[in-house]
Amino acid sequence: MTSLDSSVEYGDVRELRGPLLVVRGVRGVGWDEFVRVRLDSGELRHGLVLEVDRDLAVVQVLEGTEGMDPGGTWLRFAGEPLRVPVGLGWLGRVCNGRGEPVDGGPPIPGVTTAAVAGQPLNPMLREPPADPVLTGVSAIDALTTLVRGQKLPIFSVPGLPSLELAAQVAAQATVGAAAFSVVFAAMGITHADAATLRDVLEERSAAGELVLLLNTADEPVVERILTPRIALTVAEHLAFGSGRHVLVVMADMTSYAEALREVSAARGEIPARRAYPGYLYSDLASLYERCGRIRGHAGSVTVLPVLTMPAGDITHPVPDLTGYITEGQVVLSAQLHARGIYPPVDTLASLSRLMRRGAGAGRTRADHLDLAAQLLAALDRARQVRELADLVGTAALSQTDRAFLAFEETFERVLVHQRRDEARPLEETLDRAWQAAAVLPRRELTMLSAELLDRHYAPAHAAAAAERRG
């Protein structure tokens, strides 16, 4: 095939509809190519080819078609999918959702570039994730340990501090002595949130450990289709090109999915659940699956998507399909938030599927996994007791049942609750977990071996500590 002459400009625009543009008379244009769109006003926009049909191309305009006129629109096809520069030059930078600097600095140096779409990873050459990312957030470190190479989303409800939690993790996460970077892709967030984010992440940015991509709520919706892809492409190269452990935070994926839905609707595609396109699962997977480790490479990409469940509905397609792809989920609860617990993590609904690989002897601490399992079992029992107590009153409960209620209280106040700027060391987190366990009679801790109990179980101490902390 002859290589395409990208100097050819096409102007026979036949249709403008939503974010879509149909141009006629093109030759040699390939599917999924990148497009530069020039308006008569001199403004430059960008697009991707969604369909080629003989001499017709359907293009999705990332900045939207607002203000465009078919007679004054000119397209150049790049002859290849969109590529972005990659490398260490991104560290410390703040860019918009299309990866253009908004920090007043020079363009990102582009010696090496990579296609933003990424490519599937040969599953045989994946290295199973096996080491923790320590977030300094007890609820996560103790019970849903984040593992290098994992994808673990935060499921939130409007009004809960999910962005704060994501920012806190982004600001304080570490992997011991190894080189660590954070790529934060914010999509559809308010200017106020953007400002807070920049504030919280200031230190990490100044240390050259952070890349921040910001697409605010008033910026083009379709642009968000690009933002996570750029973030992941940059992250992959920091990880597998430069041997770093990279955490990619993507907030808010619900905004991303809305952009996808908008394009799908404009194309008149047959919708699946709640008007989201049928390929939402695969599309989300093409992002989330870019996390991992590769055999023979030092670095890792860990992905932390943040999403709000509209009306708190976990069966909504975005959290639902996300949950099917990711390796667990951290669920935030409005009840805990109302009780003043931060972070309001609903530990029973939360899960880190890779925790058993990333925690325990040699990773975190030998007692960690058994202790976490025991706490969760006890929490479940406490939940049942609480439901019962709501009906029959606490007075009707047995002594053991009451102990479970006290346990839950201590668990929330002593272990889960912490300050928004508090980075808790792992040792302290696990010790607090034992304090919670010690509120229960020893015979109720059937998931812990006698040996572990002999070593760590100290009920008197727990009572005193709970007292002190109120």
């Binding site: 390939g30 369909e51 699956e289 792809i325 009906l391 053991t400």
Partner: protein, 572 residues
């Protein structure tokens, strides 16, 4: 013949001028030769479903028909291997699977061959021509292919045999060591066999309550995080089949890496070999091309039938069939087919039925007995079991192991719901168990089932009035239900001692709880306060499953004795 691309929309490609193309023929598209399949022909235009990323494909690019339908390469390199959805080897493929990066076949291997026929012998389809030694203990049998018969004109000598070498000349046809078979066409067998034999899964809740027969079918519906993948991986590791075909269909890459690593490490308790040597892995992870998901399911079934025909018991595990159904939907919607329920094509039900129909215990063409058991995960959107894929699947399978979100939240694993699951094989397997020396199997199953149901009924009541308000006997039923769940049904996949459980230990654990339940009833009948029994430390019983090895029924009974002695102390 060479056609020209005229239209490209993601995986849908339209080609003009592909004269003579047939339905389901494989077509190589564009400069990288991306494989696709002809799924519709209208006028001079063929609609092709592409199996890889079509970025960069443009109108005017060439399309070349291969002249045959999508086929699997079947040979001695399968066991221990990892393949993509089109059954192309992933070993040796690059880290990044760009379009065109995966080759049709790996480097040609060579295997020690022992001929089993004489020149001049008259042979029929399914007859044994030779055996080859592969990585594991399984004898790999080279058979006369379906449709081939006659005199053996030549046979390869004993010694190393290359993967693509000819093993024998039969009735004028060369029979190579590695053959091909169209993946959408079931391989023929002589007859279906009736008598049920249990497939032992090593998972107590299944073996005791919802057993599956060899050659049967089971579906595992459950929302995300309920434990589908872990349960299927447990089956892949511990069930007593000869060959496992594990199809990772649109699921996680890390999980595939995990299962490969696990199988390589684990020993096969039945043969002493490595588990990986009885396993064929088909990996089409969710970042790999969506359309290959559709093919991966059939590729897996074809591999299973290939080993079945050698006389083996094979289990095909598909995680998740919902991703396969979504691929069907995706492509149907691109072709503009009229959607039925939730956008799925109208033939969804028949596609699901046809897939599960590839299961069965059969007499093979060569007269051996072999079986293909199919176990598929189903991932209902929003955990809604009424959605089309789950609802249709339940119609066509014999066992449903429903995973319950509440059980999973409570970390009760495996979260198999005892009220929402069924096994249509259970009755037939009761008599089989009796013949195998466990006449109590059916009674035990009934007792456990009754106790669980009764405990569920009472706990709903207790939620209203408080357990304390119930009579002592009923409180003992509640207690027994809890003990059954914790001591028998729960089984951690992560446990060193309890990940798998042999039938004797499973029976001993169940019998132990039933005995303790009886004793507790006797105690309250004798006037011991129910609260006192409830507050007893049941650790010896609850921890028995963890503390004795997977085949230590006697160890369980020792724990039971300790427990019963402790309860006896409660008597005034």
């Amino acid at each position: 013949m060479t056609g020209r691309l005229v239209r490209v929309v993601g995986p849908l490609v339209e080609v003009d001028g592909l004269s003579g193309a047939t339905m389901f023929e494989v077509v190589d598209l564009g400069p990288d030769g991306i494989p696709g399949e002809v799924v519709a022909i209208r006028g001079g235009t063929a609609t092709v479903q592409a199996y890889e990323y079509t970025g960069g494909l443009r109108p005017g690019d060439a399309a070349v028909g291969r002249g045959h339908p999508l086929s699997a390469r079947l040979g001695p390199g399968l066991l221990g291997g990892v393949f993509d959805g089109l059954l192309r080897p992933l070993a040796g493929a690059p880290v990044r699977l760009a379009a065109g990066a995966v080759r049709e076949s790996g480097p040609p291997g060579s295997w020690p061959l022992t001929p089993c026929v004489e020149v001049g012998a008259l042979v029929e389809p399914g007859d044994l021509l030779a055996t080859v030694t592969t990585a594991g203990p399984l004898a790999h049998r080279v058979l006369v292919p379906p449709g081939v018969r006659g005199r053996v004109a030549a046979v390869a000598p004993a010694g190393p045999c290359a993967g693509d070498a000819v093993v024998a000349q039969v009735g004028g046809v060369a029979v190579p060591l590695t053959t091909t078979w169209p993946i959408r066409r079931p391989r023929p067998s002589a007859e279906r066999l009736d008598a049920a034999q249990a497939l032992r899964t090593g998972q107590r809740v299944l073996d005791l309550l919802f057993p599956v027969a060899r050659g049967s079918t089971a579906a595992v519906p459950g929302g995300f995080g309920t434990g589908k993948t872990v349960l299927l991986q447990q089956l892949a590791k511990w069930c007593d089949a000869d060959v496992i075909v594990y199809v990772g269909c649109g699921e996680r890459g890390n999980e595939m890496a995990d299962v490969v690593a696990d199988l390589q490490e684990l020993e096969d308790p039945r043969t002493g070999g490595r588990l990986t040597d009885r396993t064929v892995i088909v990996a089409n992870t969710s970042d790999m091309p969506m359309m290959a998901r559709e093919a991966s399911i059939y590729a897996g079934a074809t591999v299973a039938e290939y080993f079945r025909d050698m006389g083996y018991d094979v289990v095909v595990i598909a995680d998740s069939t919902s991703r396969w159904a979504e691929a069907l939907r995706e492509f149907a919607s691109r072709t503009g087919a009229l959607p039925a329920e939730e956008g799925f094509p109208a033939d969804l039900a028949s596609a699901i039925a046809a897939f599960y129909e590839r299961a069965g215990r059969v007499r093979t063409l060569g007269g051996r007995e072999g079986s293909v058991t199919v176990v598929g995960a189903v991932s209902p959107p929003g955990g809604d079991l009424a959605e089309p894929v789950t609802a249709q699947t339940q119609r066509f399978v014999r066992c449903v192991w429903t995973l319950d979100r509440d059980l999973a939240y409570a970390r009760h694993y495996p979260a198999v719901s005892w009220s929402g699951s069924f096994s249509r094989d259970a009755e037939r397997l009761g008599s089989w168990h009796a013949r195998q020396g466990d006449p109590a199997w059916a009674r035990r199953r009934a007792e456990i089932g009754d106790l669980l149901a009764e405990a569920d009924r009472l706990s709903a009541l207790a939620e209203l009035v408080g357990a304390g308000a119930l009579p002592g006997r009923e409180r003992m039923v509640l207690l027994a239900g809890r003990l059954l769940r914790e001591s028998v049904l729960q089984q951690s996949a992560l446990s060193a001692t309890d990940a798998t459980c042999d039938p004797a230990k499973a029976a001993a654990l169940a019998d132990a709880v039933l005995a303790v339940a009886d004793r507790c009833q006797q105690l309250v009948d004798a006037g011991v306060p129910a609260a006192m029994v409830e507050e007893t430390d049941f650790t010896p019983l609850v921890r028995a499953r963890e503390e004795v090895g997977p085949d230590d029924a006697a160890g369980v009974r020792a724990h039971l004795e300790t427990m019963l002695a402790r309860l006896t102390e409660l008597l005034p």
